[in-house]
């Protein structure tokens, strides 16, 4: 049972100051000419008010778009390795939506599936999440159809729910308690506040969908749906759970470095073999892969969905490849 408090709007700065004093970087939604981005902040008034979601997901905090895994220099007959160790900065994600907060589980499933990825884990350890329940939604949202909810606590160390004059703060984990302890004066006892969040209707039953997909692999709908798809990586790169990456060596005769960068299974070259053969040569196959990866392979392999229903992909898509809509079509196919 999480302990609940009242966090007055005015006390946010106290909390921020305490977190900063503790050497933590605070990342929060910030308005930047019309877009909401997840940027470093120091004061509460920098935080975008009433925003729905950031364009990019918060996964960057644990899985940066470009990250150095190691560097090396070449001497005659010798290779000298450098900085092959992760350097993670203590970070607090403030105002993260419950859907995104729950997304880190899906990343963790991959990064710690067989080998444990020290870089990811180092960043996760240094990461704390202060979530923010949703009081608004848009037509792209479908968290409730994938086991989440506008007030779901999973993934948050502290979950805030807006109430008059401040927030209902549910302190959920040790990390959460540690943060609260940094600024006890900011938190007031809970006068029995009501946790009011937005209504997100359930559109489909994910379990049924997963079962249904087993018979749809060769169905024509994937070709049908993907005709419009441009095959870019926007959906994957804004997705809080997409985890595909590429390893790149930037080297010359004197030395080099190995980088891990985001990649997308939507790209035509993603599965290109050196032989010239491409097992996913059509956009239909790549689109199907995206759906199956999240709603069939994830459940199979990790016992969870690879989608949190945040709708970022739908919002980011230049040609309105609405994920929920297409999932419904599949469920009814």
């Amino acid at each position: 049972m999480a302990d609940t408090h009242f966090l007055p709007q005015a006390s946010l700065d106290t909390l921020f100051a305490a977190l900063t004093r503790d050497g933590r970087r605070i990342l929060a939604p910030v308005d930047r000419d019309g877009r909401t981005e997840l940027n470093p902040v120091e004061h509460a008034d920098e935080v975008a008010s009433g925003c729905l979601q950031t364009v990019l997901s918060a996964k960057e905090a644990a899985f940066p778009k470009v990250e150095r895994l190691l560097s090396y220099t070449l001497a005659p007959g010798a290779v000298a390795l450098q900085d092959a160790e992760p350097q993670a900065r203590p970070t607090v994600l403030f105002g993260l939506r419950p859907c995104e907060a729950s997304g880190f589980r899906a990343l963790d499933a991959v990064f710690n599936w067989d080998t444990r990825d020290s870089f990811f884990n180092a960043r996760m350890t240094a990461l704390a999440v202060i979530g923010m329940s949703c009081t608004r939604r848009d037509e792209a949202c479908f968290c409730t159809s994938v086991g989440g909810g506008p007030g779901a606590t999973a993934g948050s160390d502290i979950l805030l729910t807006p109430v008059d004059g401040g927030f209902l703060a549910e302190v959920l984990t040790d990390k959460g308690r540690a943060m609260a302890a940094l600024a006890p004066e900011a938190f007031r006892p809970d006068p029995g506040l009501e946790k009011k969040v937005v209504e997100v209707p359930v559109a489909f039953d994910p379990a049924a969908l997963t079962v249904r997909l087993k018979d749809l692999f060769d169905n024509g709908i994937w070709a049908e749906q993907s005709l419009r798809c441009l095959g870019c990586g926007a959906c994957a790169f804004v997705c809080p759970t997409c985890v595909c990456f590429d390893l790149v060596e930037e080297a010359d005769a004197k030395g080099g470095r190995r980088l891990r960068t985001w990649d997308s299974c939507g790209g035509a070259r993603f599965t290109q073999h050196a032989s010239g053969h491409n097992p996913r040569s059509t956009q239909a196959q790549r689109w199907r892969q995206r759906i199956y990866h999240k709603f069939s392979y994830y459940p199979e392999r990790y016992g969870m969905l690879g989608c949190v229903g945040c709708g970022k992909c739908t919002r980011a898509c230049p040609v309105d490849m609405n994920l929920q809509e297409h999932l419904l079509a599949a469920a009814q196919a």
Partner: protein, 266 residues
Amino acid sequence: MDVIATSRQLLESGAVQAVIGFEAGTRGIPRPAFIRRAEGAGALVFDANCTQNLGTYLTRPEVRTLGRVAVTATPDTLRAILQLMAERQLKEEDVLALAVDATGEALELPTAQAVEEHLAMVAQVLPDRDREALERLGRMTREERWAFWQGEFARCVKCYACRNSCPMCYCGHCTMDCNRPQWVAEPSHALGNLEYHMVRAMHLAGRCVACGACGRACPVGIPVHLLTFHGEESVHRQFGQRAGASSRLDYALSTFRPDDKETFIR
């Protein structure tokens, strides 16, 4: 005749096997639609929000298999069609352009010549806000422009939405995919991003039909279209050519005039 009636007729008569147009989207904005049966034509819409350059689809292998297609086309799309023909990516018989105005009236342009003549009537002007943006950048000092673009590129994640929404980025194997040698740094760090946007702008200079699809497609709102616009304007200013004006190849950078200005050459 309006888009719906024209499309229905074309599909019924078998003149085309598919119509690429717009339908109502799920988020208030129309989206590209592929209509292959006359019954489906009713779903077509056309209004000022139909900004996607449908020319992008014409070179896709999946779309090529549909047969002959009609495309509801803005002037941008028409220019894309001509430029694609000039670059031998499209044959006259592959596509039927339906020039559609904001009222939804559709005009059939069956030949490249018809498209050229239609376009000759339409002045090619940049949207005000883009023109102003270009002018604003022009007024900046070089250092300010550097800071501006570095700030913008910092958000780039190399999702390639700009490239993939561009009708002229049809190369099966993009320079970005070249790794022997690695022409462009693949990661989306500052160098990789600068190189990517520089190469794209150069590769489109003299080929850009100025539809701005790349800029609209960018999920993080980088005005990449200003780069290609500038390149295209630069070509027009210096060589008097415009991409997409003709189905015969007239690429400023694969030709020359002995008397081209060379003020900066020592």
